[in-house]
């Protein structure tokens, strides 16, 4: 039975609409994963040298023991945030004559299939073979490896358990995350205690009493069992699903958008889309965090004005880029309805411009405190703001007409690649290059202000001729609408 499940799982992966569609994305993803993996392997192979750099005064083995517990704490924090819950896939089997225990063991078993379980082996095994083995012998190495495996499995199932619990009650996740962060801060910021010392003490003691290795193993088994029992008792469709509706939802209106007519109504809808759905909401939150970029950027004197253009563009326009790159996929689920109802596409595009202008204006206002670093920064931000609502918005919308990938709004944002494709990669080129093509020739001959003048000129020109661009985008869309619609209907 388990092998059938795994077989279905593999089919689900390969036959999913998202797999194998965008080769460009797959290549980039593969390269990223390869790079990450190579980095981890490298760190693992030369862990002894790196430990010496961080703890030059201590004995290498001692600092290794010290790092272990720290690693597992960080690991837990990351897992709770990023690891997938293997739950929803069980639904089609619940009503079939398959033993409950089989389904539950399968779910628990699949819970192990996570890259997080690979890291500790890759990171720590080379060190154990290289240093611990020759110095302390086989028994010590074996004990250490077993306890690391034990803690990994324990962490794995603890994270899954926390995630399952926080599906029922969202506060649990926040509580656990806050606790772990406080625990780490207590060591590194407040120096109340030392996790490294505690870790050193535990693992050192473990090696003197090899039988104690049963503790991590028992912990792992116990956590697995807890998961198993919890799942078996809660194997109901509605409980496996994420958040159920809790509080009553109310209608809201944005009266100030009313003056823009139908386009304003569309913008109001899109604001609701962003606020009421997980993934666009996290795109918005990420954009808010990006406003802090200036704190890193402007305090670093290495960067010249050329880079400040970059910073200004990103801070005032990150929403245009971050949210806009997936347009109109956000509305894929009801795109049929949009086209069949009395919405002129002209208004539809106008509403996007309104949204971008609102978001960029908010970002411009929020970044005014950077005036602390000089008036010219405020001026640069203003220039790049105009650039964003003029040129970048138009570029983004031009590429939106070339994007036909559906996005499921209910899925969460982290590590979600649905909807990503070649369009996003292509889009980044004109976004990043155009301001430089205009600015650098002048900057190179020492005429930076003329370069900036050209950028402002082009930006204002595009804003003033917006009606023309909207018309162009509309004609372009009407030609491509069938392809876009078909793509959006593909679940």
């Amino acid at each position: 039975m388990i092998s059938t499940f795994i077989n279905h799982e593999l089919k689900a992966f390969w036959r999913s609409k998202n797999t194998g569609k965008g080769i460009a994305v797959l290549v980039v993803l593969a390269l990223l994963i390869l790079y990450l993996f190579a980095t981890i392997v490298y760190i693992g192979l030369f862990l002894d040298k790196e430990l010496l750099i961080f703890f030059p005064k201590d004995d290498v083995v001692g600092s290794f023991y010290g790092v272990l517990m720290l690693y597992f704490l960080m690991d837990l924090l990351l897992r709770v945030k990023l690891q997938d819950l293997p739950t929803l896939r069980a639904q089609p089997y619940l009503h079939l004559p398959i033993k409950r225990n089989t389904i539950v063991s399968y779910l628990c078993f699949m819970g192990m299939a996570s890259v997080f379980n690979l890291w500790p082996i890759v990171l720590f095994l080379p060190f154990i073979v290289k240093i611990i083995g020759p110095q302390y012998g086989f028994l010590a190495s074996f004990t250490l490896v077993t306890s690391i495996v034990g803690f990994t499995i324990f962490n794995n199932y603890l994270a899954l358990f926390i995630k399952r619990k926080s599906n029922v009650n969202g506060w649990i996740f926040l509580g656990v995350a806050a606790f772990l962060i406080m625990l780490l801060l207590g060591d590194f910021k407040l120096h109340l205690y030392s996790i490294c010392n505690a870790s050193y003490f535990c693992f050192n003691y473990l090696l003197s009493q090899p039988l104690l290795v049963s503790i991590p193993l028992l912990l792992a088994i116990g956590m697995y069992y807890l998961n198993f029992v919890y799942l078996r008792n809660n194997l109901y469709m509605d409980e496996l699903n994420a958040h159920k509706i809790s509080e009553p939802k109310s209608s809201s209106e944005y009266p100030f958008l009313g003056r823009f007519g139908a386009a304003g109504d569309l913008t109001a809808n899109e604001i609701k889309l962003i606020l009421r759905n997980k993934r666009p909401r996290s795109a918005l939150i990420a954009s808010l965090f990006f406003l802090l970029y200036g704190l890193i950027h402007y305090t670093n004197s290495r960067y010249g004005q050329g880079w400040n253009i970059f910073a200004g563009m990103f801070m005032t326009g990150i929403f245009v880029i971050n949210y806009g790159q997936y347009m109109h996929s956000w509305q894929a689920a009801h795109f049929d309805g949009i086209l069949a109802s009395r919405i002129s596409f002209n208004d539809f595009i106008k509403s996007k411009y309104i949204l971008f202008t609102l978001a960029s204006t908010a970002a411009l206002i929020l970044t005014t405190p950077y005036v602390y670093f000089g008036w010219n920064i405020l001026l640069l931000n203003l220039i790049m703001y105009l650039w964003n609502i003029g040129v970048n918005a138009t570029i983004v919308l031009f590429f939106a007409n070339r994007n036909a990938k559906r996005i499921d709004l209910s899925k969460s944002g982290s590590l979600n690649w649905q909807g990503a494709g070649g369009t996003q990669l292509l889009l980044s080129l004109p976004l990043f290059l155009t301001p430089y093509v205009l600015y650098f020739p002048f900057a190179m001959i020492g005429q930076e202000s003329i370069g900036l003048g050209v950028i402002v000129g082009v930006a204002i020109f595009t804003i003033l001729t917006r009606t023309f661009w909207i018309k162009k985008l509309e004609v372009d869309f009407i030609q491509r609408r069938y392809t876009i619609l078909e793509g959006f209907r593909n679940k």
């Binding site: 509706i245 509080e247 009553p248 939802k249 109310s250 209608s251 809201s252 139908a262 109504d265 809808n269 609701k272 889309l273 009421r276 759905n277 689920a333 009801h334 795109f335 049929d336 309805g337 086209l339 069949a340 109802s341 009395r342 919405i343 002129s344 596409f345 709004l409 209910s410 009407i478 069938y482 619609l485 078909e486 209907r489």
Partner: protein, 243 residues
């Protein structure tokens, strides 16, 4: 109202819709019947310019629907949940649709107040987004949004499929009232409902309209015969007689 000429849609070498000629007159109420895969929804989507026909054209009030937006002003349609904006509350959605037709919230409220029995207390002020409603209730929202638009052409794809029996009766009454002064096109798998509501029945099989009949007292029996005995292929011989 609608005139279809030489319309064809082909997917992977299979012709899913093939309508050489079809004319839907003003004021008719059309019932579109056919087993799964007969091409009903594809035909609907092509009439709404959501799918590109491989050849042929569809004229709505004498103007080609493709790339044209005029028909949207008088056509209201609900094919599936993809027509609803799932993250809005029903009220927000109704006001939005009403706004597209230059109606104030008060006007929308007035229309909605007439639909209270149809909604059966499950739609308005229920504290739910459309995505959290059941399929049947979503269907009610879709139908109500259509009525709100005061259309002269109303198109519904399987409106009876997910709603409860009492709502089915209410919907039938609404459709009968509406079809007195507007054109309606409805697809369904329920022979009783369709013969009850529609005055002209189109029967589709494998993309072809194989029967085009004016509803009479014998129609229901005729249709039951067709679907019940499974003599599908023999009927297609009648195609030539149709037009």
């Amino acid at each position: 109202m609608i005139e279809i000429n030489n319309l064809k849609k082909i997917y992977n070498g299979v012709t899913v819709v093939n309508v050489p000629h079809l004319k839907i007159n003003k004021g008719e109420s059309i019932g579109l019947l056919g087993n799964n895969g007969a091409g009903k929804t594809t035909l609907f989507r092509m009439i709404l310019d959501l799918i590109r026909p491989d050849c042929g054209e569809i004229r709505s009030n004498a103007a080609n629907v493709a790339g044209n937006e005029n028909w949207k002003a008088y056509t209201a349609s609900y094919l599936d949940e993809g027509f609803l904006i799932e993250y809005l509350t029903p009220e927000e959605y109704f006001y939005f649709i009403g706004g597209l037709h230059e109606q104030s919230t008060a006007q929308v409220d007035e229309v909605l107040s007439k639909l209270t029995t149809f909604f059966n207390g499950e739609i308005i002020k229920n504290g739910k987004y459309i995505r959290d409603l059941s399929k049947g209730n979503q269907c009610k929202v879709g139908v109500a949004a259509c009525l709100l638009q005061n259309p002269t052409l109303l198109m519904l794809d399987e409106p009876f499929a997910n709603i409860d029996p009492s709502t089915q009766f209410k919907l039938k009454k609404i459709l009968k009232d509406e079809s007195k002064h507007i054109t309606t096109v409805i697809s369904s798998h329920d022979l009783n409902h369709v013969t009850d509501v529609c005055n002209r029945i189109l029967l589709m099989e494998k993309g072809v309209i194989i029967k085009d009949i004016i509803t009479s007292s014998s129609t229901l029996h005729e249709l039951e015969e067709y679907f019940g005995t499974g003599k599908h292929m023999q009927l297609s011989g009648e195609l030539g007689v149709l037009h």
